[in-house]
């Protein structure tokens, strides 16, 4: 059961998160916070033509939340905003056991093991929740350089 959760892919993304850091240009951004373990993930987006042209995230957290943010960023870069949100819905349904569907998108499926650890679902979805808020939170010039 546990081995399913802490797989090599997750450990790898947790250790070396992809798309970590700042972006040269940002149009949208938001922060997610999980008080249970103190995880904090900030998602930066460059949205043009309703498409996520670029994405990055910063923050600190457990292996699950960092890996999930990293996997998410890889999975949605280049996707339409609506597609990305649709993916979140399917991802959410899968990890909360509401759906049995495999996602088949990038390495996202390797987070399915979180199902057996209900108290870690928040970690696995934190970056996604931040994404959802971010696409509705355009940044102004002043917010860009805090």
């Amino acid at each position: 059961m546990l081995n399913e959760l802490y797989q090599e892919t997750i450990l790898d993304h947790g250790r070396k998160p992809r798309n970590f850091g700042l972006l040269p240009m940002v149009t949208h951004c938001a922060e997610g916070h999980n008080p249970l373990c103190g995880d904090q993930i900030r998602v930066h987006l460059l949205i043009e033509d309703d498409t996520i042209q670029d994405i990055s995230f910063e923050g600190c957290g457990c292996a699950i939340s960092l890996a999930s943010a990293s996997l998410m960023s890889s999975a949605i870069k280049g996707k339409k905003v609506g597609e990305a949100l649709g993916l979140f819905e399917r991802f959410h349904a899968t990890v909360t056991n509401a759906s049995d569907e495999e996602l088949g998108i990038g390495d996202l499926d390797c987070l399915i093991g979180v199902r057996d650890h209900a108290n870690r679902i928040k970690c696995a979805t934190l970056a996604w929740h931040a994404l959802k808020v971010a696409v509705q939170s355009p940044v102004t010039q002043s917010q860009e350089l805090p």
């Binding site: 059961m1 450990l11 373990c37 103190g38 457990c62």
Partner: protein
């Protein structure tokens, strides 16, 4: 080391399997398991004398009232209060502290007054004071602590002044295990005319309490951390203070007369106990204290400290492990972090091995920031823990290290 194996018969849950493993319950600072005599006593109340108290003329109600008041006397004796009326029953330590902050606080705090709380306090002894301070214009200031978790008494002695109205401190730190020097803190508080409120949530089950010898003004308790039921706590307060305070909540039983023209209040403790109390819970609290006293607090502490010392020694020999909280006076709590692995991941992996620990900020965010960690892993021991529990913990941490190697 003394043996306590025969005790396990009194704790059915400790024999259950979790995720296919023997349960090593090391989350006792969150809540202890409850021995069968306590569960059975509550059940007995429900089955043989379930009735409302104080207000009834019938026999059951009188019997329930007697049992309820006897529990009050037990709590008073356990903490060495001078009389039962100084013990107010609440739903827990958190409510007890809120009672003081809102009743005493709102009646006594003025703009500019200072409330000094140790930097290590639990949110339960910070937030109620922030809420009260905001209403009154008072100021909440942290009392510095050392990296070891020990209170900086010298700093406190320099902070107290005529502005100081409240000094708040926990008897025992839930995150690190530090035992605070209550008598000294009370002395410093009283030297400037401030009251001293002690958060006893983690003290009651592990350290002797003597409210009179310390001279403490308020001592807040939770039954569920002391082998008693959930949903019950108590507040000790000095009679003179309790009498001078306005009610916290209004309702039945706390009044003498009610009319739309004005209401007069009952005496202590009733003034602070409106509504139907948790009779079986309160009686269970009393039974838990009896049970603990019969086992012997020094025996309990010896077992807990021995296991915690072993755990600390073995953990610190593992690469990357940093023990957090190294005060010289500690109860059986071991808090640690592991280089580059987040405590939450450690907790999940330990859980998969049947080891129940707490990971997180332990409701002590300011303390975590002071120690510069987002969270720790905490193993907290109770009198029923076994050497196998320590072994399981160590094996689990080794497994974490292997996975994250």
């Amino acid at each position: 080391m003394m043996t306590n194996t025969s005790l396990l018969d009194q704790f059915p849950l400790l024999k259950e399997k979790v995720r296919g493993h023997r349960l090593a319950y090391l989350d006792n600072a969150a809540t202890t398991q409850k021995p069968l005599p306590v569960l059975e006593e509550m059940d007995r109340i429900y089955r043989t004398l379930n009735a409302n108290v104080h207000r009834g003329v019938h026999t059951l109600s009188q019997q329930a009232t007697d049992a309820f008041e006897e529990a009050r006397a037990k709590v008073a004796r356990f903490i060495k209060a001078s009389e039962p009326a100084e013990v107010i029953f609440t739903k827990g330590c958190t409510e007890s502290i809120n009672l003081v902050a809102q009743s005493w606080g709102l009646a006594n705090l003025k703009p500019g007054d200072e409330i000094l709380l140790s930097h290590g306090e639990h949110h339960a002894n910070i937030v109620p004071w922030q809420l009260a301070a905001e209403r009154c214009g008072a100021v909440v200031r942290p009392i510095p602590i050392f990296e070891s978790g020990e209170l900086d008494l010298k700093a406190l002695s320099e902070m107290v002044s005529s502005k100081t109205k409240v000094v708040g401190i926990k008897h025992v730190c839930n995150a690190l295990g530090t035992i605070n020097p209550i008598a000294e803190v009370v002395r410093l508080a009283h030297s400037v005319g401030a009251i001293c409120i002690v958060d006893g949530a983690q003290g009651l089950a592990h350290e002797p309490v003597d409210v009179q010898a310390w001279g403490v003004d308020f001592y807040a308790m939770s039954a569920h951390k002391t082998y008693g039921p959930m949903g019950v706590g108590a507040l000790y307060g000095k009679r003179s203070l309790l009498e001078s305070m306005p009610p916290f909540m209004g309702g039945g039983d706390m009044i003498r007369t009610v009319s739309f023209d004005g209401t007069t209040f009952n005496e202590i403790p009733n003034k602070f106990e409106p509504g139907t109390p948790n009779v079986p819970g309160v009686v269970g609290f009393g039974a838990a204290l009896d049970w603990l006293a019969a086992f012997g607090l020094p025996q309990a502490t010896a077992i807990e400290n021995d296991l915690a010392d072993r755990a600390a020694a073995e953990l610190s020999s593992l690469p990357g492990v940093v023990l957090r909280g190294t005060a010289s006076q500690k109860v059986g709590i071991v808090s640690f972090t592991l280089d580059s692995v987040h405590p939450h991941d450690i907790g999940t992996i330990l859980d998969s091995e049947g080891v129940a620990v707490r990971t997180g900020h332990h409701c002590c965010m300011p303390l975590m920031r002071r120690l510069n960690v987002p969270a720790t892993v905490r193993a907290s021991f109770a009198l029923y823990n076994q050497p196998e529990d320590v072994e399981a913990l160590i094996k689990g941490v080794q497994k974490v290290q292997k996975i994250f190697a």
